[in-house]
């Protein structure tokens, strides 16, 4: 069930949920009790992603991205998705190429000619919020306010192809930009460690991990490693997201593949080059068939399409450990 409302202003559509409607979802549909939520990716995507949903994810295509969850969304051929595309290189072309996504809030549209051509062909509609604007919309959602102000976007054409508004600031009298809150239907977070309840830890920087978890109707965490719940209480500064924001936990070693997981494994540049090279429907179809449709799940993908030897090599290459703990 898609929760957010679509608004239309002129030629621009945007997702907006009244903060009170989001709050009622949180009150009635998000559990506070510590209960195990460990499920398979198949179960998580089937239960928590619906056609028409708005999806955001953290971090990037090449680093700590929730790639196994994105592939599962494609495997299940969710339809008419709306993507908050930030630090996207390959997610948007793949989701559009598979027929899953029809609208993209940009952000960064994605890498390569395929996605650009899809926009030119009208197969996907875009709205231009910019990276900072999207991050701020999610922060507004996370703070329970209907908008946040910013001193960028002003003067640019992005203002005309988004629902950002200019008002007169009552304190300075100057023009200021407002962006509306974004409450995505689903946030995907790929993390270093999680427990079965949903407590989750990221090492390194993030785009808006806690913001997205607070702002989203549903949160799916995929984790390289499942750890004991007690770990989080021993070290509360390291907790990125507490369990009660999270709806499902998926154990996904190599879940960021072909991207890197800092301090765990490096990028598979050869595989990334194959993604970067996709230009035609035919190439897109072949990639999806080989890497997604012809394997039952992430485990089979790793086993049959990546292989233990390559995984070992990518682990070996991850030599920068400092700071990621």
């Amino acid at each position: 069930m898609t929760n957010g409302r679509i608004r239309k202003e002129g030629d621009v559509e945007y997702r907006f949920t009244h903060p009170d409607d989001f709050r009622e979802h949180v009150r009635d549909r998000k559990g506070r009790a510590p209960v195990p939520k460990l499920v398979t990716a198949k179960e998580a995507v089937a239960a928590f992603v619906s056609d028409g949903d708005y999806i955001v994810y953290d971090f990037s295509s090449l680093t700590r991205g929730p790639q196994s969850l994105i592939r599962e969304v494609i495997r299940q051929r969710k339809k008419d998705l709306w993507i908050g595309a930030e630090f996207t290189l390959h997610e948007s072309p793949l989701l559009v190429g598979a027929g899953c996504a029809t609208r993209i809030d940009v952000g960064f549209l994605g890498y390569g000619n395929y996605i650009g051509q899809a926009v030119c062909d009208g197969r996907v509609r875009t709205y231009e919020w910019t990276n900072g604007g999207l991050a701020l919309r999610i922060l507004a959602g996370a703070r329970g306010v209907p908008f946040l102000p910013t001193r960028d976007l002003l003067g640019s054409d992005n203002m005309n192809v988004s629902a950002a508004k200019t008002i007169k600031d009552p304190y300075t009298g100057d023009p200021i930009c407002l962006v509306p809150a974004l409450n995505p239907d689903v946030a995907f977070l790929h993390v270093h460690q999680a427990d079965v309840l949903g407590n989750a830890r990221i090492f390194g920087t993030n785009l808006f991990a806690l913001e997205a978890a607070l702002a989203s109707f549903r949160v799916i965490v995929s984790a390289e490693e499942i750890v004991e719940s007690d770990e989080f209480r021993k070290d509360p500064m390291r907790t990125t997201v507490p369990y009660f924001l999270v709806d499902a936990v998926v154990h996904a070693p190599f879940g960021a593949y072909p991207g890197a997981m800092p301090a765990r494994y490096e990028i598979d540049l050869e595989h990334v080059d194959r993604l970067n090279a996709i230009r035609t429907e035919d190439q897109m179809g072949k990639y999806i068939e080989e890497n997604i449709d012809s394997v039952a799940d992430h485990e089979e993908f790793l086993d049959r399409r990546v292989g233990a030897k390559r995984m070992q090599e990518l682990r070996r290459r991850a030599t920068i450990i400092e700071g990621y703990r």
């Binding site: 090449l62 290189l89 549209l109 990276n131 900072g132 023009p175 920087t205």
Partner: protein
């Protein structure tokens, strides 16, 4: 000592960009070529520059070689002063802590307005669509001095950008402030593969400051779809130094993935 140096247009653009960065200052670095410029600068010229990236790395000291396409990987994030997130990163720039911003561009106009969204057609029916702003809009809006790094090709220097992704001086003097953008900010330099431009203090129009040694002003200006202002004296930019080329070719990009380009030469 004079001798002919051979290099690519990309190498020259990166090298002259690196020479512009001040030590002991802060710079907000955009995706792609600006990352390489910052790496070269920090390696050779400005050990105490603080780089900042929109993904929340404050002051990283990149591990070389550069892993192409990455932004936010452990190599780009190594030995930072602080790891945060995007909303915090843009708080540093919004409060005036970023002295410089450095961005690439598809198109730039005489006021330094940047297009990185589409070329030709209309927004809804573009002829070619590109990645869009990323964080470029914020960098160009917040930083004190924005440096634009762009290949010197005629189709990139246009009287009007097809889409104003990231603000330059908009339509002229005072326009940024009237729009509500932070006072006293705006484009500072345009670094190209042939020349260096600034912006006239009065008219806010792009002004040719200097050209690669051996090129004439006409050779530079004819490859632009608008005529820039000319500084009273046009300077001469030396080609990449041996050190610059060595660091670029051996340390930053040994696979020559980024620095390849059109071959050029000049007297070193």
């Amino acid at each position: 000592m004079a001798r002919t140096v051979e290099f690519t247009d990309t190498e020259f653009m990166i090298a002259q960009g690196a020479r512009l960065i001040e030590d002991g200052k802060t710079i907000f670095v955009g995706w792609g070529i600006p990352q390489v410029v910052a790496m070269l600068a920090q390696k050779l010229y400005v050990p105490n520059v603080t780089q900042l990236f929109e993904f929340g790395a404050i002051g990283p000291q990149s591990v070389l070689p550069f892993v192409r396409g990455t932004m936010g990987g452990p190599q780009n994030t190594y030995r930072s002063l602080q790891w945060l997130n995007m909303n915090w990163a843009f708080s540093y720039s919004a409060t005036g802590y970023m002295d410089y911003g450095m961005l690439g561009a598809l198109q730039v106009d005489p006021y330094g307005n940047i297009n990185s969204t589409f070329l030709g057609g209309t927004f809804r029916k573009p002829e070619r669509r590109f990645a869009g702003s990323g964080g470029g809009n914020q960098v160009a809006s917040h930083c004190w001095k924005t440096i634009i790094v762009i290949k010197h090709e005629g189709r990139r220097f246009v009287p009007n950008v097809d889409f104003l992704t990231s603000p330059g001086y908009l339509d002229g003097p005072g326009a940024r402030e009237r729009a509500g953008l932070p006072r006293g900010t705006g484009p500072y330099r345009v670094v190209t593969s042939k020349a260096l431009f600034g912006f006239d203090e009065r008219s806010r129009k792009m002004t040719l400051l200097s050209v690669l040694r051996g090129l004439s002003v006409d050779e530079v200006v004819k490859e632009m779809a608008f005529r820039p202002l000319l500084a009273p004296e046009i300077g001469e930019i030396p080609p990449p130094t041996d050190d610059e080329l060595r660091v670029l070719r051996e340390e930053i990009d040994p696979a020559r993935f980024i620095i390849r380009g059109e071959k050029m030469s000049a007297i070193g």
